[in-house]
Subunit: 379 residues, 4 copies
Amino acid sequence: MLRYWTAGESHGKTLLAMVDGFPAGLTLETDSIDNELARRQGGYGRGGRQRIETDKVEILTGVWKNTTLGSPITLQVVNRDYKLERLGDLERPRPGHGDLTGAVKFLGPIRAILERASARETAVRVAAGALSKQLLGAFGIQVIGFVRELGGIVVDGEEGDLEQQKQLRDQSIVYTLDPTRDDEIKELIDKTGKSGDTLGGVVEVRVEGLPFGLGTHAQWDRKLDGRIAQAVMAVQAIKGVEIGMGFEAARRPGSQVHDAIVYDESQQDGPNLGYTRPTNNAGGLEAGMTNGQPLIVRAAKKPISTLRKGLDSVNLNTKQPEAAEYERSDVCAVSAASVIVENVVAFEVAGALVEKFGNDSMDELQARWDLFHDMAKRR
Amino acid sequence: MLRYWTAGESHGKTLLAMVDGFPAGLTLETDSIDNELARRQGGYGRGGRQRIETDKVEILTGVWKNTTLGSPITLQVVNRDYKLERLGDLERPRPGHGDLTGAVKFLGPIRAILERASARETAVRVAAGALSKQLLGAFGIQVIGFVRELGGIVVDGEEGDLEQQKQLRDQSIVYTLDPTRDDEIKELIDKTGKSGDTLGGVVEVRVEGLPFGLGTHAQWDRKLDGRIAQAVMAVQAIKGVEIGMGFEAARRPGSQVHDAIVYDESQQDGPNLGYTRPTNNAGGLEAGMTNGQPLIVRAAKKPISTLRKGLDSVNLNTKQPEAAEYERSDVCAVSAASVIVENVVAFEVAGALVEKFGNDSMDELQARWDLFHDMAKRR
Amino acid sequence: MLRYWTAGESHGKTLLAMVDGFPAGLTLETDSIDNELARRQGGYGRGGRQRIETDKVEILTGVWKNTTLGSPITLQVVNRDYKLERLGDLERPRPGHGDLTGAVKFLGPIRAILERASARETAVRVAAGALSKQLLGAFGIQVIGFVRELGGIVVDGEEGDLEQQKQLRDQSIVYTLDPTRDDEIKELIDKTGKSGDTLGGVVEVRVEGLPFGLGTHAQWDRKLDGRIAQAVMAVQAIKGVEIGMGFEAARRPGSQVHDAIVYDESQQDGPNLGYTRPTNNAGGLEAGMTNGQPLIVRAAKKPISTLRKGLDSVNLNTKQPEAAEYERSDVCAVSAASVIVENVVAFEVAGALVEKFGNDSMDELQARWDLFHDMAKRR
Amino acid sequence: MLRYWTAGESHGKTLLAMVDGFPAGLTLETDSIDNELARRQGGYGRGGRQRIETDKVEILTGVWKNTTLGSPITLQVVNRDYKLERLGDLERPRPGHGDLTGAVKFLGPIRAILERASARETAVRVAAGALSKQLLGAFGIQVIGFVRELGGIVVDGEEGDLEQQKQLRDQSIVYTLDPTRDDEIKELIDKTGKSGDTLGGVVEVRVEGLPFGLGTHAQWDRKLDGRIAQAVMAVQAIKGVEIGMGFEAARRPGSQVHDAIVYDESQQDGPNLGYTRPTNNAGGLEAGMTNGQPLIVRAAKKPISTLRKGLDSVNLNTKQPEAAEYERSDVCAVSAASVIVENVVAFEVAGALVEKFGNDSMDELQARWDLFHDMAKRR
């Protein structure tokens, strides 16, 4: 079992992720984690906070000579903008945030809620996911996340293999797969920002090189599609999750949805064992299990809830109508969301991998990977 | 903590749901559970299995004189069509099902997978949800599920209150809120069935009368939006989940998404404590917590994976291309899905209710409900 | 992950255990489960209930042609003495039972508590354990439980191997390893019964053939010693648990406690890989992991809480002193406890086995067992 | 749900405990946590490590202006003796430790195991427990831990109330309730240390002021006795746990074990609601629930596994017999164990409190406490 929690407030000392159940014997590097943290801070339309922070991960526990010990790994991202103790409470809850509901639920200050509900927390969710990608990488499993829609602008294009797609994405300032669309999108963001408004979008994650049988059909709470949906929907501002063809599958007849099975002997030594699919509308998951095809997950991010032009709210003390408070924020964080969703999906996939192949030592996991594929071929 | 598992195979003796953590002292009746079971079997376009079964729930444990004991409640739905021991294995996996991937994962027969992966299991997920609705009902919380889209036909219309909507839905043979659209839909189903094809759709669930603060923002795995997404996506054939405005929220500016906060003193004794929203695009959830507004969840169901006209597949023994096996199936089960999703959402909400208000005795829960609302009003 | 819950009341229709995460492909038989159920009903000094019931297990789900499917397995033991609906409440709580505390906690009837708190529930905990012993047996892991003390009479003697010990135990009417002591013990039970009193005792469980490394040191809630302690202490009437030398280890210097490590090449192909210990005071567990030696667990069972001669109590309605109610009971159930503790320990060990070796298919588990031992030898 | 994990290695940078589910609105102070940390380092017979470290807790997350936010609380104890990166591996596993079994399980270095298996980790388990005692204290629940036996020397004496017992304990250099026995015990420790040997002992924990009904009888994995047993047995070097009369209860007739129920109107406003017991052999737990009496838990700690005089072992590389490695250690850490066990028990009790009364805000919890006692009195 691979599991993690996070801790930390938006303006507190530090953010932490504690990862339990990570296999021993994997040599880690922090550059790729820092790279994901930097990508999370990037995109176009970000606000002042990202100029203050330059997130770097520190591995506090679980590692010796850069190699995992099998004991819990703690990842820390220190807040430069630590000022929680100097901050006061708010009176006018911001719609779209947890301000009002949290203040009621906990019978306390809004500050107590927003500091934890803030998307600042996603820095360490990204760190945990980036850690898990090093585990996936040891098995040749690759993950990419990118922006599919931004403020209504749809960006198609997924030519080339995953490596080429990464290059395209990294050339795009907003993390789409088509950098030639950047100007159009920047213009929209600029215009929206000037009007004091905000934007959302749709992000997509693909995982390639997956074996058969991560997840299970046997019990509802162990199905991998459910677990991924939980992890993604629990990301701040996400309001929708879909797998493969998703909502579009609801609109087509079955003959245009289900992916035929074809046997291609030349691929029998790959993770799909030779079973290919001309289409991948299932998005790599059937009956809660990976089916040897790429995993495809999309998520809908609502626009930033903090609007410079203010939203109608109420003063909790007077109950009189007032504009919501404004705490420094972004115009658009869809690019960041693509990084966050990519990494929480990666973590769930790594969890399912460990459930299938064990979590003692990398040597044993890799031998079991080979063993399983040998046995599966002979089935 | 309220939790449940299910057990049972499609053609096995029986299906069971074991529910742990249900409060003591609630007087149960089984009619409303049976009603949900019958609704799950209904709709238009269903196949032969539904004619064989007439699902009735039996409460095996946890109840004395129709009242819950606080001990685990086991719900049983016996399979009339019990014939598992007479059935053999399959050779040609059906695309869209877990046949191929399960056979590889477990290195065994396809039969072993399909019997458990089958949507027949949802009968007891519905039973567990229907049980939990009796708990919700004791607090005035009402739940409705209906069909929003079927095979691409969108059915709007949500006039009236939830009770009136239930009446409309129950008049519709396909469980939409507009029975006048039934003929159009039946025609599509008939036409599709004749062509050997199948249909999917979009279902919607609404929960009204919710208090503030079910779920939490504090840890990712306790956020209610995430938990609902897991429960829904883990339903057979569901490929997408959205809350409130969902994917549409990703396409609009923030000023057209976030729900202004208005204080209406006349509602201060209701569960929303007077805090109303002119819109409910958040679908009742902000920062992973209920915000006093109706919960709105939608799910995309793919078309039935078993097509009479067959899909391209492979014989696992010969590796030669053959048509997929055909096991008796429906043309369309979107109406059933609306019942299933309604009930799994209800269960998660009941779980969050119990997490907030406790799970010892109904008397204590109800006193705490009043206590919380008194304290929240004075906050 | 292997996990289970139970459901059912003492005089309800039925008792159930739902086991989730059991590997596919194991051929089951019910005789050995029934045998454990019969042993649980046996011993000397048992009361009327055991004459009414002749417990037999029924496997309701998870099996096809006697082989596990990988889906949840439900075990049922039907109560012949089903009469819950005819029973009334109690007024005078019985000390040692949950009567008083449960009635207060749940603000309800005593009947609601005692029906679930009753040791009758252990029938299905035994069934789940007996099921898991079939899994252990496939790896050559053997389990024995027996009575070590009864009412203060200590019975030593553990000559021979585990198979011979089982024969001795099965010759003893009270399940000790020395049937020649039976008369002495029967006399004590008879005398105690006549005086209206009851007896407890100490039971012991041994597990042989264990590999290295079940459990882990890495996180407190995954240590196997802790998990076993929970499972055992959660058995009705158990008030103490110890592993290996247990409390005696607290009284000796370290040089007389810790087990030297010796390498014996002739055993290198066994599960201990050649690492033997002249003593086994650790009881097979070091740092929360199995160490290749037999697991030894002992548990203290308090005397039956229901005394025919009555204990001082209070009428809950009048608050006046009265004798506690008497519900039919035994004089001594230590023999039964030896069966129960044996089986709950077996379940935890099977859970740890599955955590180390996976829970997909038996074929894969067994191949991984061999693989691990090969790799460990070459470490 | 209140839950926690720890992370950190013995000679790593830092130790951390992450506590999730702690209620909002409790004003914390760190002095009482530091006091427990200091007590854990104390006692007589401790080695060099304790002279290097002066453990202080730092609260990294979850607090604003000294008040809990309801978000996860991270407790940090920095290792002064951080030198992990300079340390090498061991070749000769130390009996009693996880060295051999961990090296086999993880197919890796002994160092990887011992750094995490070390009792150094208990510093943050103590910190988490000490935090939870502040929660318990807000309800008038008091906890004490002390040494009951050391190296076979039994120390009776529990005169006075819990406050007076704390004073006596704090006067005793080895944390017994009778400081007049200190010299005798010191002499034994000195003698043992000179001979290169080590000592264990028995520790006891009492919790007073508990309400009825923490824990439950309804499902085996939620019984409080089981949870406490797990938490205690999972403490390094603990080999036995007992509750109340424990193993002695197994040796007496029921009439000398079970605690009569007496109603004393004068106590009806206390947490026991007037239901007193002339004896408390059950140790405050019946049927897995607190019964209004003091909770009593005892644990057996084996002697320190690292002996200066060395134990017989094997060189893992050569398989030749050699003396086990010696890493700096203590002669006796029973006093420390009394602090550790006290705090892990406190945490489990706090967890059960939160399960019964909720974990949103302290204001709500306290109102619910009053509400429950009012309702229970009127039952």
